[in-house]
């Protein structure tokens, strides 16, 4: 789960989600589907929009994972408690710019391999992040494997590669003009 908003609120939601994942596995003997846990989180958030003396959780969340049958899922929730399934999305202050970038560039070729997909994600963030690789965190989740968080070095090398490609494509444009 990735979130944008009040970190303290996020920790509470994450904790509740973790407990529910275990609880579900205990009572039903199957791991949760991504949709189920998203629905749980969304229901939790909605409850806080309709109770006395409480304020809504100040976070939007992106929930990713694989279902038992192996299909990958991405869901987004917001403080109102709505949730939707997505192929690509962004949350946060500059989400609009990143989302527009993804709308233009999320194509079959761009997600054909791991490397291309990572590049797409980094390029999307570089649209709105100022000082490049130092302010980016990247993680990949693969089917039946634990979450792999990229080291700062790997991110730097990705960013460097992308900047080089950008330079080269600009040079080509200048040449053709």
């Amino acid at each position: 789960m990735a979130f944008a908003g009040l970190t303290a609120d996020a920790r509470i939601v994450i904790n509740r989600a973790r407990v529910e994942c275990q609880s579900h596995k205990l009572t039903v003997e199957d791991p949760v589907t991504v949709e189920y846990i998203t629905r749980y989180i969304a229901t939790l958030k909605q409850r806080y929009t309709q109770s006395n003396g409480r304020r809504p959780f100040g976070i939007s969340a992106l929930i990713v994972g694989f279902d038992d049958d192996g299909s990958p899922r991405l869901y987004q929730t917001d403080p109102s408690g709505t949730y939707h399934s997505w192929k690509a999305n962004a949350i946060g202050r500059n989400a609009k710019a990143v989302r527009e970038f993804l709308e233009k560039n999320y194509k079959e070729e761009a997600i054909a391999t791991d490397r291309e997909t990572i590049k797409l994600a980094v390029r999307a963030l570089l649209e709105v992040v100022q000082s490049g690789g130092k302010n980016i965190e990247l993680a990949i989740i693969r089917r039946n494997q634990p979450l792999q968080i990229f080291s700062a070095k790997d991110i730097e090398s990705q960013v460097a590669e992308i900047e080089k490609e950008k330079e080269e494509s600009e040079k080509k444009k200048k040449k053709s003009i």
């Binding site: 009572t27 039903v28 003997e29 199957d30 189920y36």
Partner: protein, 210 residues
């Protein structure tokens, strides 16, 4: 209080699914309440539950289980798995542990993982296995089942084995009798195979021997 579990029920998995067979005698002490009790609850087209023990307890809790299974399907847009359904029942019964419930049930079904068979009882026990028999006639049924069971039985052989096991159990157990109600759980749901009077089964097998 020693409650009598007057019943014989059985179920076993084989290559063509799960066969479920039960007797139909409901006894209250030494009095036969009815010869035509229904000891199989049809939870949904892919799930069956058998009842042994206290008729009231079994009916109540298994009907409650049917309600929960339906709600699960509505909320999660897919049918509940046999393992989850049996776990729900086991959890419900476990909360009343020590308070005198008497339920010995087998939850049978076919889900994404294939044919499923679980034994659940009032102690909170929940076991998965290829063959179970419950009720006070179960020892007699096990005798017949164990000597005739093979995982590669044909459909007709499996029906004959289940029919024979219930019939022989009712023959010796005073608290079992009536008719054999038999179901066959297949990949596309269960079918009710037959409802045969046990005396017919016994007489036919005696004739065959002569």
């Amino acid at each position: 209080i020693q409650l009598l579990h007057g019943t014989t029920t059985l179920a076993f998995k084989f290559q063509h699914g799960v066969v479920v067979a039960v007797d139909s005698r409901a006894s209250a002490g030494n009095y036969i309440d009815t010869l035509e009790a229904n000891k199989v609850i049809e939870i949904n087209p892919y799930l069956l539950g058998t009842m042994a023990g206290s008729a009231a307890d079994c009916q109540h809790w298994e009907r409650l289980l049917a309600k929960h299974c339906r709600l699960y399907a509505l909320r999660n847009k897919e049918r509940i798995s046999v393992s989850a359904a049996s776990k729900l029942l086991a959890n419900m019964l476990g909360e009343y542990r020590g308070m005198g419930l008497s339920v010995g049930s087998m939850i049978c079904g076919w889900d994404k993982k294939g044919p499923g068979l679980y034994y659940v009882d009032d102690n909170g026990t929940r076991l998965s296995g290829p063959m179970f028999s419950t009720g006070c006639g179960n020892t007699y049924a096990y005798g017949v089942l164990d000597s005739g069971y093979r995982p590669d039985l044909t459909v007709e052989e499996a029906y004959a084995l289940a029919r024979r096991a219930i019939a022989q159990a009712t023959h010796r157990d005073a608290y079992s009798g009536g008719v054999v109600n038999m179901y066959h759980m297949k990949e596309d749901g269960w079918i009710k195979v037959e409802r045969t009077d046990v005396s017919d089964v016994i007489h036919k097998s005696l004739e065959a021997r002569q």
